[in-house]
């Protein structure tokens, strides 16, 4: 494949709350780690894309880069809600594939205050906020209810996603929450939007992640075993978008954006769902993991719930999902979360995940889904 892009370095700043660090400093920490991992210095980077949503301002990419000293390389900010990191990686991949660059940096940085996201980040209009129709969990709760009614998915199965992801999070030093939550505790935590409870949701927070992307040819100089970026797809949801940031629709029968992005990613990579060793997906809430596991074609419609209760998606199961604890454990630094998934996937594919290592990991899929209809699906392999 012409100018195939490979990953030679990854870095992460723990996801959590870091009041004493600026968003740019978080980014520098992750970039330093990724550069060291790739055996290069910042001066070797030829282009940079930086994803951010919550603290975005026109100079955020350059200001982060300038922490390494002044540079003349092109730096572009990327914003695509919760899919920003994926969109950023897609830009970096295209820069390599196009043939002009050999070493490109994709960075995601974020600082989010505690609590619900501010209405504007999710694309709500002022009247939606004044009417109280801008609480993201309400949309996920209504999706969950439909799935439960249509397929018999149970609230226990939804809660088990949270139990699993918190369990995985205990094994991940970069997660904000490293504490197990028993099933009863999840079910009995405060109801946010019926039927979903507090411990079923991710929390917005701070964090950063960085990925060094190389052309396959240039990578040979730095590593014998790069992780191959088999495909990266970024799509928007067709009409209707019955979700965050929106308020009306019509049942057109169009496919969901996650499915569109997944089909594109599978086709470009020449990979089918059966080939996957593990999956990182957008567990903004626990029910979302079940819905997205079906939209990603990992399971048939209606079988996402039983896949959780049968242990298919836990560590040691046939297809582990969110081995790093997902954003339910890590928290969601919106602009950085997708590259946090890439970090985990690379660590897994290199066999460096320690206690959460998936045996014989060969192919991994990362999925994000954001407000207003963004979705990115990335497939990595060794």
């Amino acid at each position: 494949m012409a100018n195939e892009a490979v990953i030679t370095g990854v870095g992460i700043h723990k996801f959590g709350r870091f009041p004493n660090m600026s968003v740019e400093e978080l980014g520098k920490y992750a970039i330093d780690m990724a550069l060291a991992d790739a055996h290069i210095e910042f001066k070797d980077v030829q282009a940079m894309f930086l994803s951010n949503s919550g603290t975005i301002y026109p100079g955020i990419g350059p200001k982060t880069a300038f922490l390494f000293g002044r540079t003349t390389i092109p730096i572009v900010n990327v914003e695509a809600a919760c899919s920003g990191g994926g969109a950023c990686l897609r830009m970096a991949q295209m820069a390599i594939k196009q043939g002009e660059y050999d070493i490109v940096l994709a960075v995601g940085v974020e600082k989010q205050p505690k609590g619900f996201l501010a209405p504007t980040i999710s694309g709500y209009e002022p009247w939606q906020a004044l009417a109280g129709l801008d609480e993201n969990p309400m949309y996920w709760a209504m999706d969950a209810r439909l799935h439960m009614a249509k397929y018999g998915t149970t609230i226990e199965q939804i809660a088990m996603v949270s139990v699993k992801n918190h369990k995985n999070g205990v094994l991940n030093p970069n997660a904000m929450y490293q504490k197990e939550t028993p099933l009863e505790e999840v079910l009995k935590s405060r109801v946010v939007c019926d039927p979903l409870t507090l411990l079923m949701f991710c929390a917005p927070n701070d964090g950063a992640a960085a990925v060094v992307l190389c052309s396959k040819k240039a990578a040979r100089k730095y590593t014998k075993k790069p992780v191959i970026l088999a495909s990266c797809a970024h799509r928007m949801n067709p009409y209707p978008e019955f979700g965050v940031g929106n308020y009306f629709g019509y049942k057109t029968g169009n496919k969901a954006v996650t499915t569109l992005a997944a089909e594109e990613a599978y086709e470009k990579a020449g990979i089918s769902p059966e080939d996957l060793s593990f999956v990182e997906l957008q567990d903004t809430d626990a029910s979302g993991e079940i819905l997205f596991s079906e939209e990603l074609l990992l399971f048939k419609e209606g079988e996402g719930g039983p896949a959780v209760s049968d242990g298919v998606t836990e560590l040691g199961g046939r297809l582990p999902i969110s081995t790093d604890g997902g954003i339910i454990s890590k928290g969601e630094p919106v602009g950085a979360s997708a590259l946090g998934q890439i970090y985990e996937a690379v660590v897994q594919l290199r066999g460096q995940a320690g206690k959460r290592q998936v045996a014989n990991a060969k192919v991994g899929l990362c999925h994000v889904r954001g407000a207003l209809g963004h979705s990115c699906v990335t497939i990595l392999k060794i």
Binding site: A129, L133, M142, R190, Y239
Partner: protein
């Protein structure tokens, strides 16, 4: 006397008085049949320009529902917050829209239950005008 203004331009028929005659309006695409809320020269589904104005039915049913039990983020007034039911309402025409549901308790909603357009004052804007907002009322 405070003037009455719509929550957003182009989504309600005019005049706003008498309120009982006001309906939600939008477009119907002649090419693909899709409905959309609000005025537009293009179909939001297929981008066709062959669209006609459409006034929506005031009746519909619950497509899915939940209860907001935690105050939405500011600028929603935090101090006066009380939990309230919301739903995706599927109008008899087929348009689906998100709405607060009035005239019922927090545990009374269910799939398929009938609802009716309930327009009224939602809030006061910064010029002191009454903002007319849509909600749907459970038909009992």
């Amino acid at each position: 006397m405070a003037e009455q203004v719509p929550f957003k331009e182009g989504l309600l028929t005019t005049p706003l008085s008498p309120l009982e005659n006001v309906r939600l309006k939008g477009i119907k695409c002649r090419a693909c049949g899709s409905l959309a809320l609000g005025e537009s020269k293009y179909c939001i589904n297929c981008t066709s320009k062959d669209v006609e104005s459409y006034v929506f039915s005031k009746y519909g049913k619950i497509y899915s529902h939940t209860v907001i039990r935690h105050a939405p983020p500011p600028p929603y007034p935090q101090e006066s917050f009380k939990p309230f039911p919301v739903a995706w309402v599927e109008l008899d025409d087929g348009l689906v829209l998100v709405s607060e549901i009035t005239g019922c308790g927090l545990d009374e909603l269910d799939f398929g239950k009938r609802v009716e357009l309930d327009l009224g004052k939602g809030w006061v804007d910064d010029k002191g005008n009454d903002v007319i907002m849509y909600k749907f009322k459970l038909i009992k």
